[in-house]
Symmetry: C3
């Protein structure tokens, strides 16, 4: 069997060390690290991956798309898929900004404590890459999801984008800029995932105390102050005022395990595309 | 014995994934991949290769020059040789644009079916890097070679360049732009190699039918329409109208084997320079 | 135990092949090579190194700062240290321009032949990165050091910089531009290290003959003419006119051994910072 090769396609100016270390720890024997990858220049990288090894050996080469900009990563993934033809393809994974593995880890953390089918869930800052993926995954599991943003129009757009992927999703856009809006958004909510920017408080202690139905709260912000007031970055299933709480580092261990498992999985076959849903299924099977 | 290290010196903006995968499959234990290599900045790379390991270990480090631009690659190779001094050198190979391994594979394909000594061979689009190398190799094996181009003056220049390398070569420049010219160029020709640009027909079905002495035809164009009308890209020794035919993919398997063997060969000693002729000799020994 | 990973942080436009080969020969199993590293962009590289592996595995990742510009390397090292927090750190080494390993090898060469405590030592071209480090290391071992430069003001600055690091150092700045100045600088000197630019003679044969107390002379210039007239680049403990002499290549073997040992040492723990003094201690322990 030929050595495994992971082609790291990073859209930033420097390739991610984080992604490389995880890849090595997932068992990738050789890393071909690229930076400055664009939808235009990725085609020849893909050709180099699909035209060198044949038959079963094709599964020993795989692609990893990363970098801080999730939109750019998605454009690169689209270009990668376009460069494949027929059986000439290798497996590919996208985890730009860690968005997929983070969203999956957050949703899996929630599911340890509550069955999602039929519950009402709220995603704060749901228009970012992590929030959007978390909302989609919650909806796929049967939750009624409130997609919250300061900007209601953008929240509506995200709902539409998710509905295009998940026709059965129960979604509604809600505004959550002012405190009263956020308080209203929590009404009847059992699960909240806060996916906001570093150091931005999305829900105050007062708002959270009023959220009487809240059972599980996940805050993905690692930089103080917390996105959900009162949650510690290290919280990992910690009970606070009757709610199970997770902080960013508390979710981090699962995120890392899923990331590694997904990279390992790439070498099982030559035709996988691991995006949010596929990575969720993988994480679910591990749990 | 120290681990083998291949320093990949690529003249493009991104290092070739193709060359890297082949190097790994050839057994290179470590790859040091560089892009944006120029004759100016390559010197310090060479110094890093020759001043770090001594004695027999020097043979465990080697250089591979690649990238899409063959002229640039040749300029880098010249700078590499200039940076060596005395016994302080490592083995180096150039295969920019795959030109060497492609030309060698084409000529070896021909030689499976006909002895070149004394035959008349035609190279279409002979002024490009692959064509020029194919013409040279055919001439070295004793063929009388017609070096064809739309531009007769450029064909003449290529003949002169080859004669400077191979004083005994039997070469003539021929114009092959218009159909009549191409038809005339085929007169008495037993072997043709078409080395033109992707998707450009160099000889029509009519011209080929008229080429009565033609026995072996190799078309290196992988993108339809074929360079030699009627040849399929997958042809590999396929008989068509009494001629043995090869298409680009039909030649590709041999090309890949030669590429791998050449990389492996680099680590046998520390003083090899593998360019067209040396790679041909290597391919010949494998056949 | 996880595979060892060395993150090569190079401040030049191309990562050093020299540093990579030495790292591989020191046993680093994976190299993550970066070029164009600045104090600004290094932080995310450090985060990738410290946030991926935990516990004892943290010692299996390390950082190497290199590149031709020592000042830039030092600024990167400062930024690296700033990015660490608490126990979240990995070991790091700086050898930009080979300055640390060269200065250490030079001082260790001297100490094979003379005990430094109490002797008078002269460093020519002491304001450069190698010279400054050599002066510091000599002073730490108890020598009275003359810090020489064509520019006395710059020599004074270097003395102050060293005193800030080594409060007990016995140092004086001396001008050594004109021949008379250099001759005077040698008065009573038992040890000289010449750390000047390639191909620049710092002390003539005449000046050296007059230096009656001189016992050990090290010239780190590899390009003729020699920095100390009469020393051959290959000299390695060679006696010339009653003095023990070392040339650049004569010191090179020790330099390389120290470089390799230092890289290997990085993986022993996760909290080492190997700069001039630490590398000296390591080299001393090997001698």
């Amino acid at each position: 069997m030929k050595p495994s090769i992971l082609v790291q396609l990073d859209t930033d100016d420097q390739p991610s060390v984080f992604d490389s270390v995880v890849a090595i720890d997932a068992g990738a024997e050789h890393l071909l690290r690229h930076h400055g990858i664009t939808p235009e220049n990725v085609r020849d990288r893909v050709y180099g991956a699909i035209f060198t090894r044949g038959g079963e050996d094709l599964a020993r080469t795989a692609l990893f798309i990363g970098g801080s900009d999730v939109r750019r990563g998605e454009a690169v993934l689209a270009a990668v898929k376009k460069a494949f033809f027929g059986p000439m393809r290798v497996s590919a994974m996208i985890d730009s900004g860690g968005a997929n593995t983070t969203a999956v880890a957050a949703v899996l953390a929630v599911e340890k404590h509550i069955a999602l089918n039929g519950v009402t869930a709220l995603v704060l800052a749901a228009t970012g890459p992590v929030g959007q993926r978390a909302a989609r995954l919650l909806a796929r599991q049967g939750a009624t999801v409130r997609v919250a943003s300061r900007d209601l129009a953008r929240a509506e757009q995200v709902c539409e984008a998710i509905r295009a992927q998940e026709p059965n999703a129960r979604l509604s856009a809600v505004a959550a800029g002012k405190a009263e809006e956020t308080a209203a958004a929590f009404d009847g909510v059992a699960v909240v995932i806060a996916a906001g920017a570093a150091g931005v408080e999305l829900a105050s202690a007062h708002v959270l105390t009023q959220a009487r139905d809240l059972k599980v709260a996940v805050d993905l912000n690692a930089v103080p102050p917390a996105g959900l007031a009162g949650i510690d970055v290290m919280d990992k299933g910690k009970e606070r005022e009757g709610r199970v709480c997770y902080g960013a580092i508390g979710v981090g261990g699962t995120k890392m395990k899923i990331h590694k498992a997904a990279v390992k999985r790439l070498f099982a076959r030559n035709d996988l595309v691991l995006d949010a849903v596929e990575i969720y299924e993988l994480g679910k099977a591990m749990a």
